[in-house]
C-alpha cells in the first residue's frame, strides 16, 4: 500500500491522468510494436509513440522484505518487488498483502491504485491467488 501522498510533475502528468482512471499507462512504439516503460517520453515523436493501458498483470522477478520502523517504534515487514509486466517492462513496487515469509519469485501480481491524502492515485501490486482467474 502506498505510504504517503505523491504529487505529479511534468514528466508524470499523463501517467497520473491514467492512474486516476484506473489505468497503468505504458508507451507503445507503433513502428516496432515494442512496449516501453511509462517513463519513456512519447513527446519525442508523438506520431510514433502512443500511451497505451497495460493489462495490469505481471510476474515477480525479484523481491525483498523491507524492515520499516514505524512511528510507534514497532518494525513492519513489507514485501517489495521488481515486477515484469506482461508487456515486458519492469516496475519497482510494493506487493501489498503478500506473506513476507513466502518465496514470491514467479508469483503473478496485479496492479491496484490508492489515492493518499490530496495526492495522486499511486499504483501498487497485489498477489493473484493461485488458481484464481486473472481476468
Amino acid at each position: 500500500m502506498p505510504r504517503f501522498a505523491v504529487r505529479r510533475d511534468d514528466a508524470t502528468a499523463d501517467f497520473f491522468d491514467g492512474t486516476a482512471r484506473g489505468e497503468f499507462l505504458l508507451v507503445k512504439d507503433t513502428q516496432t510494436g515494442e512496449v516501453l516503460a511509462p517513463q519513456f517520453d512519447p513527446a519525442v515523436d508523438p506520431e510514433r509513440y502512443l500511451r497505451v493501458p497495460a493489462a495490469g498483470t505481471g510476474t515477480v522477478v525479484s523481491w525483498v522484505v523491507v524492515h520499516q520502523r514505524e512511528a510507534d517504534g514497532s518494525v513492519s515487514r513489507n514485501p517489495v518487488a521488481i515486477v515484469e509486466l506482461d508487456e515486458g517492462p519492469w516496475w519497482w513496487t510494493s506487493v501489498t498483502g503478500a506473506d513476507p515469509d513466502e518465496d514470491l519469485l514467479g508469483r503473478r501480481v496485479r496492479v491496484a491504485f490508492e489515492t493518499v491524502g490530496d495526492g495522486e492515485a499511486i499504483p501498487y501490486f497485489t498477489v493473484i491467488e493461485r488458481g484464481a482467474n486473472e481476468q
Binding site: 502506498p2 505510504r3 504517503f4 501522498a5 505523491v6 504529487r7 505529479r8 510533475d9 514528466a11 508524470t12 516503460a37 517513463q39 522477478v61 525479484s62 523481491w63 525483498v64 522484505v65 523491507v66 524492515h67 520499516q68 515487514r77 513489507n78 517489495v80 518487488a81 521488481i82 515484469e84 515486458g88 517492462p89 519492469w90 519497482w92 513496487t93 510494493s94 513476507p100 519469485l105 493518499v116 495526492g119 499511486i122 499504483p123 501498487y124
Partner: protein, 388 residues
C-alpha cells in the same frame, strides 16, 4: 614530446565517521591540505582541482577560493556516484598525460551524519522526493539504495544459489582486516558469522552488516607526472590503466540486473591498458557498498568464476588477512569508512606505497581498484602500481 606518465604523489584523509561540527566543504579543504603536505608540496603548486561529494550541497568548485588557489588550468565538479573517485583519478591522469595540467588535487568529501539524527536516516531523508516517478517508488516502500541492492542481490541468489552465509563470510573477512586498520570505524570491534546472522535485517536478505557504514569526512589525492612524483616525499603510485563501464540497464524482460556489473567490461580493458593480467594483481580494492557488490565485482573481474562467487569466496583461506585474495585490506566501506569511491582508492594508495602497517600486503606491485555507483549502473576501474 613524449606523454607524461601519471602517478599519485599525495594522499590526505580527515578524521572519519561521526565527526560533527564541520561541513563537507571544510572536510574537502582539509583533505587537500593534508594531501599536499603528504606529497611535500605547497598549495601554490597545484594547477588543477577536481571536486566531488556525496549528498552534501556544500562542496563545489568554490573550494578553489577556500584554498586560495589561483591560476588553475583545470577545475570542475564531477558526479558519477560511487564511480566518481576512480573517474576523477582517470581524468586527472589524462590531463597530466596531455600536459593540460601538472599537479592536480582530486578530492571527495561528505557530511551525511548529523548529530542527534539516526544513522539510518542519513541517506533516506536527503533523498525523499514525494514527487514524480521517484515519489511513486518511495511511496511504495522502496526508498533507499539498501532495498534496490537487496533486489539485485536476490536475483543473484535465485540464479546462482548464492546465500546469506556467503554474504556473511565477506562481512566477517573485511571486519578482520579492519582490526588491523586503526582508522577503521570498526577497529576494535570484531565480527563473527553468528553475529552477522543475528544482526537486524534492513531489507531481507540484507542484514545490517551487509550494508556499508555512513561516514563524515574527506579524502584527497594528488595526481602529477611520474617524473615529478619521483622528486617528492612519497613513493610514487603509478596510474597504469583505467576504464569505465556504464551498462545502462534497460529494465525490461531478460535484463541482467543483479547478475553482472560494469566490472566485467571495464576490468579487461583497464588491465590491457596497464599491460598486465589478472594473475599479476597483488591487491584488490573493490567498491563494497554491500557485501553483494564486492562478490559481484570479484566475479566480474574474473577472480572467481561467474555465479560461483558465493561458495568460492567463502572457502577457508580465501579472504581476510592471510587469505589467497587480498581484498579490501583496510576493511572497506563495510568496516572502515564510507567515502564512496575514495575508500578503495585510499587503501589502494596505502598498499601500493607499502604503508599499510600491520595490514600491509607483502607483494603490492599491482593494485586493482573499482568504483561502483547508482544501483550497479556506473563503474570505474583503476590499475595502480609501484614505480619499477
Amino acid at each position: 614530446m613524449a606523454q607524461s606518465q601519471p602517478a599519485i604523489a599525495g594522499l590526505g584523509i580527515t578524521a572519519q565517521g561521526k565527526v560533527y561540527g564541520r561541513t563537507a566543504a571544510q572536510f574537502a579543504a582539509e583533505a587537500v591540505r593534508l594531501a599536499v603536505t603528504d606529497a611535500g608540496l605547497a598549495l601554490g603548486d597545484l594547477d588543477g582541482l577536481l571536486v566531488s561529494s556525496g549528498l552534501s550541497t556544500s562542496v563545489g568548485i568554490d573550494l578553489q577560493g577556500a584554498l586560495g588557489l589561483t591560476d588553475l588550468r583545470l577545475l570542475t565538479f564531477m558526479q558519477g556516484y560511487g564511480s566518481t573517485a576512480g573517474q576523477m583519478v582517470q581524468y586527472a591522469a589524462m590531463a597530466v598525460q596531455s600536459g593540460m595540467a601538472d599537479t592536480i588535487a582530486v578530492v571527495w568529501a561528505d557530511d551525511p551524519l548529523k548529530e542527534k539524527t539516526r544513522t539510518s536516516a542519513a541517506y533516506t531523508a536527503a533523498r525523499s522526493a514525494p514527487k514524480g516517478w521517484r515519489g511513486i517508488t518511495a511511496s511504495n516502500g522502496i526508498a533507499s539504495a539498501n532495498t534496490m541492492y537487496a533486489l539485485a542481490a536476490r536475483r543473484h541468489m535465485q540464479k546462482y544459489g548464492t546465500t546469506q552465509d556467503h554474504f556473511g563470510h565477506i562481512a566477517v573477512a573485511q571486519r578482520r582486516w579492519a582490526q588491523l586498520n586503526p582508522i577503521a570505524q570498526f577497529y576494535g570491534t570484531p565480527l563473527t558469522l553468528e553475529e552477522y546472522h543475528a544482526s537486524r535485517y534492513i531489507a531481507e536478505p540484507f542484514h545490517l552488516y551487509d550494508c556499508c557504514l555512513v561516514s563524515n569526512g574527506g579524502v584527497a589525492v594528488i595526481v602529477t607526472s611520474l617524473d615529478r612524483a619521483r622528486a617528492l616525499r612519497q613513493p610514487p603510485v603509478r596510474i597504469l590503466g583505467w576504464a569505465q563501464a556504464h551498462p545502462g540497464h534497460a529494465g525490461v524482460r531478460d535484463d541482467d540486473f543483479g547478475l553482472v556489473s560494469g566490472a566485467a567490461s571495464a576490468g579487461p580493458r583497464a588491465l590491457k591498458m596497464a599491460g598486465t593480467t589478472l594473475d599479476e594483481i597483488d591487491v584488490i580494492e573493490v567498491y563494497d557498498c554491500y557485501t553483494f557488490t564486492a562478490l559481484l565485482t570479484l566475479e566480474d573481474y574474473g577472480f572467481v568464476p561467474k555465479g560461483e562467487g558465493g561458495p568460492a569466496l567463502a572457502e577457508p583461506g580465501m579472504l581476510g588477512p592471510g587469505g589467497k585474495l587480498k581484498v579490501n585490506t583496510g576493511g572497506g566501506e563495510l568496516s572502515a569508512f564510507y567515502m564512496w569511491g575514495m575508500t578503495p582508492v585510499h587503501e589502494a594508495v596505502v598498499q601500493a606505497r607499502g604503508q599499510g602497517g600491520d595490514r600491509q600486503v607483502a607483494k603490492h606491485d599491482r593494485v586493482l581498484v573499482s568504483g561502483n555507483g547508482g544501483v550497479l549502473d556506473y563503474h570505474s576501474t583503476l590499475v595502480l602500481g609501484t614505480d619499477d
